[in-house]
Symmetry: C2
Subunit: 426 residues, 2 copies
């Protein structure tokens, strides 16, 4: 089943998908040339929103969970992509250690880790899971649904190397976004590959840097295809020095939100879009959809009540919000059984290996679907993203998935630029 795309407009986006379709060879060739200059991160997932008149990434995750939500038929594609990635990073490797998130024993997240371990195992590595959780002091077997299981083991640091008591890996795969900072045990591992690098964690990363890189990438790509980059690119602005608790920075937020809403309104007029514009205010660093606010009028950010301020003030692991990104909101016009559906696309190395929809019945189409405590129903993409079919409608599922894969790869390329630029010297 594929979500229904409900939009009164048949204009810009159908045009966009059609342009992608007609130019699919030029699109692939453009990416090939980009990958000569830039190295993609090991893996990545991108949340997209499809408003019917605009198709854009809203979040790029460099430590993706949710591999368990992908179509099992795509497992060989994941394995092959992981093989290609490993060949480039550490062809002689035998052992890899996954360091997962510590904050959760959420069964869905653990299934994601198990799926990741399975992919790496089939791509030809011995895989074990080392946890940062201090209470795990001996190998601990966790039972998962369908008879699966996962063994978490305590990390052991030996000089410049990290491993387990009886396991000395060549590479460390982080599935932990380091929201709580870089733990000492992960610092200075000069003898091992740490994938992705530590500066991909939220201590260093800023959404604004990612979307600035994305804007560049979108401009270059759009120029190649002769389209308006706005159709792919969510506009944004930033405010530093915010303190929600002490009500500092509200004016900055209000004036930036106002400016952004005005810019969006102009674009909506240009394209004859009758929807109400909105912006999303969120922490510039951090993840998991805490501290996210939908704003339809700048006045909404002035005089927040205590509950709202508290919600905005911290994100995951107690990281405090002081820098904020204000991002153009993109409506979600895809629905399944009256539920709003947001596509998430997965990549390993430069290859799109599948995706799924987050389907949520209790949310509006201008709200964030990846919010705390949010229960979504995953709906795996039923076909691959590499099979555009010019014999069918531009918005037929294979073509829509192809377009999603293109936008997701633009975000992947932006992440490569972002990581290059934020890499520590030396």
């Amino acid at each position: 089943m594929v979500p229904h795309l409900t939009t009164a407009l048949t204009g810009p986006l159908l045009d966009l998908e059609k342009r992608f379709l007609d130019a699919s060879t030029a699109v692939e060739q453009w990416f090939r040339v980009q990958w000569l200059e830039h190295t993609p991160p090991f893996y990545c997932s991108v949340d997209l929103r499809n408003s019917g008149f605009k198709l854009a990434p809203v979040d790029t995750n460099l430590f993706p969970g949710g591999f368990n939500n992908l179509n099992p038929a795509f497992l060989p594609l994941c394995i092959q992509a992981a093989m290609a990635a490993i060949e480039k990073i550490c062809p002689e490797a035998k052992h890899i250690l996954i360091v997962p998130e510590s904050h959760t024993r959420n069964q869905f997240y653990l299934q994601n880790v198990a799926q990741l371990a399975l992919i790496l195992h089939h791509s030809g590595l011995n895989v074990r899971i080392g946890t940062l959780l201090p209470e795990i002091t001996a190998p601990t077997r966790l039972e998962l649904p369908h008879g699966a299981h996962l063994t978490l083991e305590p990390l052991v640091r030996r000089g410049g190397r990290l491993g387990l008591a009886d396991f000395d890996p060549c590479s460390i795969l982080l599935n932990n976004d380091l929201s709580a900072g870089v733990p000492d045990i992960l610092k200075g591992l000069h003898e091992q590959f740490v994938i992705p690098p530590l500066h991909a964690g939220w201590v260093t990363r800023r959404k604004s840097r990612h979307f600035a890189a994305y804007a560049e990438v979108a401009r270059s790509f759009a120029a190649t295809l002769g389209i308006d980059p706005w159709l792919l690119n969510p506009d944004f602005d930033v405010c530093g020095e915010i303190n929600f608790q002490e009500r500092r920075g509200e004016e900055c937020l209000a004036s930036k939100a106002d400016g952004l809403l005005a810019r969006i309104r102009l674009k909506y007029r240009e394209y004859g879009v009758s929807e109400n514009p909105f912006v999303i205010v969120k922490a510039d660093a951090g993840t998991y959809g805490m501290g996210i606010m939908t704003v339809r009028d700048a006045s909404e950010v002035i005089g927040l009540n205590r509950k709202q301020r508290k919600k905005m003030a911290v994100v995951k692991e107690g990281l405090e919000v002081s820098e904020v990104i204000i991002q153009e909101g993109v409506h979600t016009f895809e629905t399944v059984d009256a539920g709003v559906a947001e596509p998430v696309v997965y990549m390993i190395d430069r290859y799109v290996i599948g995706g799924f929809y987050r389907v949520h019945t209790a949310r509006r189409r201008d709200e964030n679907l990846n919010a705390p405590g949010m229960r979504f129903k995953p709906l795996a993409f039923d076909t691959a993203c590499s099979l555009p079919d010019s014999g069918t409608n531009p918005d037929a599922p294979p073509n829509r998935f192809f377009a999603y894969g293109v936008i997701a790869r633009l975000a992947l390329l932006a992440a490569s630029l972002e990581l290059e630029r934020s890499a520590p010297e030396g």
Copy 2:
């Protein structure tokens, strides 16, 4: 559906499959290290035979047909592998020209060419088909089943470049095994990539060189796994200077066949195999299963009658047989509905991307299944070759397919060695 493996023995091969399963990480790591030293051909198919006590390649095709016989579910895997191959060969490329076989307007073969064109198109290239057929003097559209079609166009040579009237490709993909020799129009294309290289054609190639390289590869691989290489490696010998029409070389053939049969008999005794040994006599250069003879006793090659001699004397395109390979026969113990089934595994770059069984009801298990005029029913592999499952029996389909993928990749590696060694100087 997966063919039934009928064998009285549960010994060596189950052991072999179990060893592959247990050592799957070591197997992949071994391949990764090999590919650091050697470059796989762009594509390759390998005919395997599974006797229950021995699993071995019997033919390695560097210009594979039959892509149309693969499971359509594996198309994304083909595309991704082709993307990886193109990135390495010609990342900046936009245009590729396929040069198919000229000898046939066989609908099945043309569907293979169409499928190959589709794979390359989806991997991001403009693909057109240039034919060596002199009667094609203008673009000619051929209708294929299911509403598909294929346009053959006349080749145009311009100095050091080959193309079509309005098409100047960066690469030429040969799907033509050059049995008739290298046409002048393909010679000296120094400004374009010719894939695979011309010396992969049957003018230069010798099966004995391939299987000599395979024996090396099998020895090294078997040593890593601590197994007897004979379990993977078909023994062989050669006779040069054969002339079937003039009855020259019969004695060489008889004595070599006798020696080989004796060696096989010894091995059968060692492993308690009660089957009758046999050898296959075939042209050392050439393909398409013409000029192939099953020999169970050396006396059979003495005093061939006129019909037998005529059959052995020429292979495809009238190429004359003067060098002959005598290869250990491997029984086929896989059956579908009482038909003998021979697996064929397909690879693009270093990746196994699927396979199918040739199923033939009118053939015996010690006969060649790829003979002239032979009608086989293709039966696509229903799962990928990258999903060994140690939780099931060693001969459960995912594990059997994994083993097939391993052996096919050994043959692929042998082909890489063979091409390195036969490359023209300079």
